[in-house]
């Protein structure tokens, strides 16, 4: 492909991304050094937004919670996604129905799904889960005000929402594992578990990596679902970084745009650190090709 052709084909898309992503991003970085409100030009105040953000323990709590959520949810999704996809791959005529039913959790807008999810745990709205747990164990779990029950509920919801996508991807990957490979392993006398660990998983390594990457990105951004699921998120240490930004720069008439932007920039740095292994892998690969 010639350079000119490449530029022509790539150009429009690149322009859109530069214009609509990079320009706003530059504005965010600018704002992070300013004392600024919506609709009025800001005053440069150096690093004080950053020092304010970093000296507030709330940011530390939000970062910790977000990382914890990311690690647990990603691990759970990889394991469950693989197990379900494997089961699904061996399924016959039932598959389209079960697959369709599972995709519902993914196609519901996240926040809408979270509201439905919260109704299951909220006694004021019936609380089916509470009711069942109470009937079985006689316990009344405080899903919304106690740190760990609330965490478990939030994690369960996040897994619920993201699992179908990962499962779909892994299933697509499993469909591509050549039958001969699997049969060869069985002929060699490998047990079921060994076949998975030494044959199938290495073959779909790429897809698992992709699923992992997308899940990490999505969970690091967690925000919508906490609005119904964790109404007092900060007080119980279950506030995500993005919810913190929302609270600072938008919600309830709060308009500390400068501080919110500084937290945004810090969040971007954190995300880049988390993605570093993937970025390095890509760069290496590119170098090898070049």
């Amino acid at each position: 492909m010639r350079r000119r052709e490449f530029a022509l084909l790539m150009g429009p898309s690149l322009l859109v991304m530069l214009g609509l992503l990079v320009v706003p991003l530059v504005r965010t970085i600018q704002w992070s050094f300013q004392k600024v409100e919506y609709g009025s030009p800001g005053d440069f105040i150096g690093l004080s937004n950053y020092s304010q953000a970093l000296s507030d323990p709330r940011l530390g709590r939000a970062v910790l919670f977000t990382l914890l959520l990311t690690v647990i949810v990603t691990a759970t999704i990889l394991v469950l996604g693989y197990l379900i996809a494997t089961g699904m791959n061996g399924l016959g005529k039932l598959r389209p129905y079960i697959l369709g039913a599972m995709l519902v959790a993914y196609v519901l807008p996240n926040i809408v799904g979270a509201v439905s999810f919260s109704w299951l745990f909220d006694q004021n709205f019936g609380g089916a889960v509470n009711y069942v747990i109470q009937a079985l164990t006689g316990q009344n779990i405080l899903w919304f005000t106690e740190t760990w029950p609330n965490r478990i509920m939030v994690m369960a919801h996040t897994v619920w929402h993201l699992l179908p996508f990962s499962m779909l991807m892994i299933l697509a990957g499993l469909q591509g594992v050549p039958k001969e490979l699997r049969e060869a392993a069985i002929i060699d006398g490998a047990s079921g578990r060994k076949t998975h660990f030494y044959v199938i998983i290495p073959t779909i390594r790429g897809i698992l990596g992709f699923v992992c990457l997308i899940t990490i990105m999505d969970v690091l951004r967690t925000f919508d679902n906490l609005i119904p699921l964790s109404p007092q998120a900060d007080a119980i240490g279950n506030e995500s970084i993005m919810l913190y930004v929302f609270d600072t720069a938008f919600r309830d008439g709060s308009a500390q745009l400068g501080l919110g932007s500084a937290i945004n920039v810090l969040a971007i740095l954190l995300i880049l650190v988390c993605l570093f292994p993937f970025i390095r892998g890509l760069l290496k690969e590119a170098k090898a090709k070049a």
Binding site: L9, P12, G87, V112, K289
Partner: protein, 294 residues
Amino acid sequence: MIADTIKAPAGSVIKPAPRARRRSAASRISAVLLILTAVVMLAPFIWTALSVTKPTDVAFANPPILTGYTPTLKAFQDLWETTYFAQYLINTLVVAVLSTIVALVLGIPAAYALSRFPGYVSAILLLLALVFRSLPRFSVVLPMYEISKSLGIYDTTFALAAALVAINQPFSIWLLRNFFAEIPKELDEAAMIDGCTRWGTLRRVMIPLMRPGIFTAGIFVFLFAFQEYLTALVLTDTSSKTVPVFITTQLGQTLPMLQQAGAAAMLLTLPVIAISFVAQKYLVAGLSDGSVKG
């Protein structure tokens, strides 16, 4: 490694397992487990569906009431008649369709170019797309709010669709590039020897081959736009409000309106479920082999 993710050997369009194969006990257990999983996954949806079809005075009773009431669609009727729900739904559809079309029109050539132009530039651009995909929404959406206000396009479906095209562009490029990478370069060369230009090759040879891949990417971009909450929350107000934003503005409401919000969630979801039932087969096939065998 990641760049080659969604590639897999061809020949894997979903086929139901042959009937003749004897079903072992293990596979039967796994089928039961999967059915159970599906039910659990559907539970919140089912619960909401129940709540919005109960009469208001028992809709959210505690302990929940499961029998002894006459189901009613009053919440749906009220939703339709007392709010501008139809308008919100149309806004949501317009934004989703518009942004899907534009995302594909921009993304297909870009992905094609990335798959055919070897070397460092492509790798860097892909990497950039990855970084863009991971950006916190607020870092681009809050400035977009300010910019759209100063341009006078705040609160228009156009502005929201444009924002979503940009936000979802990295994902579509990634997905499409992997599909293109599956198509042998020899095909391009043959087409060009036959006198096609680059553009002609893309239009006459590549796009027809890529149909399942484009369909898959289209479905994803459509879903992303259809679901988007944060961007729509910040960039819309009275004249281009979407359904997810509407539903959340109803969360702190009293009983009848809350029930309407549940009804809105059902109405928003049903068409998407219909689509996902039709599309799931092609999603797997499309994701799995991405190219020629569709």
